[in-house]
């Protein structure tokens, strides 16, 4: 029956992008539009003693300017955090205000201080340069661990030791006992460095207040317009939500950084109301580096205990997580519920404990970035396992196999209850590893490696077998853990009188290809041509509600909401069809876009039924006209994709340069609707993960200045940094959602990073290198080789 599902249907959204007709926020020009420039703090930590905007206000074309006190006086609230994580001892999370424009003090380089609005962008920028701010520079807290120590400068006066919350999960006593009695303990000190998301489209926001209707429209480059509307209206501006429309048109990549509610969105709307003209703000790239929330930044001690047979007996993880200067929207759940809960990995480790201390610093806020917590967990686990294999002289594949959770489908065999709160849905973990080893030609590689070593060439292979958790849910559970939002998704399926179908989804596509994937599902389920389906997203006036796109949730959660609505369409359609065919509903079957009376050739098409629903002359008694259904889907559980990544590198002993020779990724993302789109997601994810391993990292100096805040200085993968990626797939359906899909957006990022670093360490283990800090720049690696040899 499936005509489209499982096929590499070419993307329906492509045409506008390849012809230059995409419509990104910055492409929008409204009549009478003004342009905003934001004066940002050049200091990491300082008091604001005085602000003088007089020269700016007198400059050509300037309309107005506002400072933080103007907003405070108008009752504008601070940016809220979306998840409350209380201290281990029960004390409430410390949540200092996060003002839209700084008042009294700035807390990171880039903290917004003044907004200047002018007739043109250049005029706004010129005038912003004329604003004079008198700062009293204070010492800055920068280092992740030291900032939580005695005597560190306080980012917020009322947050002692700069710790807004701490958190633990698992059984501390059991983990300690397991480590004490272990035959071998592998210990690593790991820094998971800070990354910058760097979506290629800079953030942009346009506020448009319509005084005639007392109505607001915000156009914003966001991954979740409804969430922005909710946070902005309910918590920050106190506006009536029904008078605010938020539109996220085409968005040029997000990777997490466009989930959060940002100050510029509030400013655009609020300023537009003040001047009764549209206000546009577009980030310059240098501004993105100091105002988009950044990612990762953990410092961790991790210990893995093993018995004499190489079985994992206990894991203890102690982490300091840098949250930057303020608690960004989801900053609190990333290093806790999205991190600690993943430390079971694919293994049967019976005792696990994780302890996390969150730390404020005078740096850009840290929040979710592609993978969000899960890459940090996977990195330390997979580094531990490969290191343990080296230390014990075991094959890294064999060691994993010894410890894998046995296969379970979640139907015949129950889900797997971890030591860290989650219940895995279904998995066959040895299956992905076997496939990856076969693809890479493992035995041959080990021979090649030995031969190369004899010639003085250093080849290495790195393993990474990962699990990830997508579609975080259900709402009641996340609510009990502190989430201040539900995590369902909604979909409207509107059958038009002619049988064409408009689908309104709460998920948002910023590259994921929803318009195609969702159309495939709808077309197959209704048995209609894909051209008859239109997917609409990204507009709160059109879509009833939505939680947006992040955490690889769109197909598993949003797709399931669509299926629910399709079921309702078919159910009502059957009633109409039965009436028209003068048959009983029970005798009908729906296939190929028509209802047929079983065993006869009497049938009626979907289009005829749709028309009847809207022209109900000959119609079942008591049935409402129309064919239009809304569903909200709140999943029973997360979904758990998994996979095995193998990376082969060559390390040049003379220069320390790490060259990727091969990268094999076998991922199991459950059922696949469009294999080409899924492969694309994996390619992008793997590239991102490789970027962290080899190239990327935000560098702050001791004063809290971001040293590499531009595309000249922040290294990211370019086309010639990568080998061709070799992908494989196994399919273990998700047992608890109607599509059996798990999610693919972050898997590559989660799996790839440890595979690369493990490969480099494997290449250098025999010369005495035991660990390498990311990113593996030639200098870092060369130094490690020198130190190992001395």
């Amino acid at each position: 029956m499936a005509k489209y599902i499982g096929q590499a249907v070419k993307r329906v959204e492509d045409r506008r992008f390849i012809t230059g007709k995409g419509r990104y926020t910055d492409d929008i020009k409204l009549p009478g539009m003004t342009y905003a420039a934001i004066v940002r703090s050049p200091h990491a930590h300082a008091t604001i003693n005085a602000i003088d905007t007089s020269r700016a206000l007198a400059a050509d074309g300037v309309v107005t300017a506002f400072v933080g006190q103007d907003l405070a006086d108008a009752g504008v609230g601070g940016l809220p955090c979306g998840w409350q994580v209380d201290f281990k001892n029960g004390d409430t999370m410390k949540e200092p205000p996060h003002p839209v424009l700084a008042v009294g003090k700035v807390r990171h380089v880039g903290d917004p201080v003044v907004i200047v609005i002018a007739e043109t962008r250049d005029q706004a920028q010129d005038a912003a340069e004329l604003v004079e701010v008198d700062y009293g520079i204070l010492p800055a807290a920068v280092d992740t661990v030291a900032s939580a120590g005695e005597g560190a400068p306080l980012v917020h006066d009322d947050v002692p030791r700069n710790v807004p919350f701490d958190w633990g999960l698992g059984d501390a006593d059991a983990a300690a006992a397991a480590l004490d009695s272990a035959a071998h303990v592998t210990t690593l000190e790991i820094t998971n460095q800070r990354l910058v998301a760097n979506a290629i489209e800079p953030r942009c926001a346009i506020g448009d207040y319509d005084s005639a209707r007392d109505h607001y429209t915000l156009y914003t480059s966001s991954q979740n317009p409804h969430v922005i509307r909710l946070l902005m209206t309910a918590f920050v501006l106190g506006l009536p939500e029904h008078k605010v429309r938020v539109v996220s048109p085409d968005v040029g990549g997000g990777f997490g950084s466009k989930i959060f509610h940002y100050a510029e969105e509030v400013l655009a709307i609020w300023c537009s109301r003040q001047i009764e003209r549209p206000v546009k703000w577009t980030a310059q790239r240098s501004e993105s580096f100091i105002s988009d929330a950044q990612g990762r930044d953990h410092v961790t001690k991790a210990e893995l205990g093993l018995d004499a047979d190489g079985n994992f007996t206990g894991l203890r993880v102690t982490t300091h997580a840098n949250v930057g200067a303020y608690l960004s929207t989801f900053s609190t759940c990333v290093p806790t519920y999205l991190y600690g809960t993943l430390l079971q990995g694919l293994y049967t480790t019976p005792a696990i404990y994780v302890d996390v201390t969150a730390v404020f610093t005078n740096t850009v806020p840290v929040d979710a970035l592609r993978g969000a917590g899960r890459p940090e967990a996977t990195y330390l686990l997979e580094r531990l396992v490969d290191t343990a294999a080296h230390e014990l002289g075991l094959d890294p594949g064999e060691l994993r196999r010894r410890n894998f959770i046995p296969p379970f489908d979640g139907v015949e065999q129950p889900g797997y209850q971890t030591q860290v709160a989650l219940q895995y849905d279904s998995g066959n973990y040895a299956g992905v590893l076997d496939k990856a080893l076969e693809m890479v030609g493992y035995d041959d590689f080990r021979e090649e490696q030995a031969a190369a070593r004899a010639e003085g060439r250093y080849l290495g292979i790195g393993f990474s077998t990962y699990i990830e958790a997508c579609g975080i849910a259900p709402s009641a559970v996340v609510g009990s853990l502190g989430a201040r939002a539900g995590l369902f998704e909604s979909a409207v399926v509107r059958v038009q009188p002619t049988g064409k179908v408009s689908v309104f989804v709460g998920s948002h596509s910023h590259g994921q290809g929803h318009e195609t994937t969702f159309s495939q599902v709808v077309a197959d389920q209704l048995g209609i041509p894909i051209e008859d389906v239109d997917i609409i997203h990204g507009d709160t006036d059109q879509v009833p509600f939505g939680m947006g796109t992040y955490g690889s949730r769109s197909l598993a959660v949003g797709g399931s909401a669509i299926v629910r609505s399709l079921d309702k369409v078919k159910e009502k359609g059957a009633k109409i069809a039965a009436h028209l065919l003068e048959a009983s509903e029970d005798d009908l079957e729906y296939a190929g876009g028509k209802w047929t009376v079983r065993g006869t050739d009497k049938s009626i098409g979907f289009g005829d039924v749709a028309l009847t629903a809207y022209v109900p002359h000959n119609y079942p008694e008591g049935l409402e006209p129309g064919l239009d259904f809304t569903s909200f889907y709140d999943p029973a559980n997360f979904t758990f994709p998994f996979g095995a990544h193998l990376c082969i590198v060559e390390v040049c002993a003379d220069t320390g340069k790490v060259t990727l020779k091969r990268f094999v990724a076998v991922d199991d993302v459950g059922n696949v609707i469009n294999p080409q789109i899924v492969e694309g997601q994996v390619h992008g994810g793997v590239c991102h993960g490789i970027g962290q391993a080899l190239l990327e990292g935000a560098i702050y100096d001791g004063d809290g200045q971001l040293v590499n805040g531009s595309y000249m200085d922040y290294a990211m993968p370019r086309a010639d940094d990568l080998p061709a990626l070799e992908l494989g797939r196994t399919v273990t359906p998700c047992p608890h959602n109607p599509l059996g899909a798990k999610g693919a957006g972050e898997a590559g990022t989660i799996g790839a990073t440890p595979a690369v670093v493990n490969a480099a360490v494997d290449a250098l283990w025999h010369v005495g290198v035991r660990d390498l800090p990311m990113p593996l720049t030639p200098q870092t690696v060369w130094q490690a080789i020198q130190q190992a040899g001395s």
């Binding site: 070419k10 230059g20 040029g252 994921q512 086309a719």
Partner: protein, 155 residues
Amino acid sequence: MSVSINVTVNGRGYQEEVEPRLLLADFLRDVLGLTGTHVGCDTSGCGACTIIVDGKAVKSCTLLAVQADGADLTTIEGLASNGALHPLQEGFHEEHGLQCGFCTPGMIMAAWQLLERNPNPSDAEIRHALEGNFCRCTGYENIVKSVRAAAGSAA
């Protein structure tokens, strides 16, 4: 103080008064409304703004509009002819060479230059030619395939 310039863009002549400091990328977007050319950075590092200037792929954020006086420009909007997509546009569509689409116009223009100079490039040559253009979505894998497909179909 504005300066008058004459340019041909996608086969159509324009005469415009521009500020001397106006970047060519902003001229295309803000003055001519050709928003297919994107701006992703302020250090000439991303390539999203790449267009064709007198037959050469150029990052349009590195030129002032006044420097383009008298030039013949092609942007992504002008690549298809008579409604028929250019082989590169077809290639990107067939091989899923784009996700969010933001890097895509620049990527296609940079690839256009490569194929002009080398109609049958190897994968390594394609990767090398595109190293001035960031893509954060695709991992470049399918972009390489797209260019290869376009080279094959043009040959």
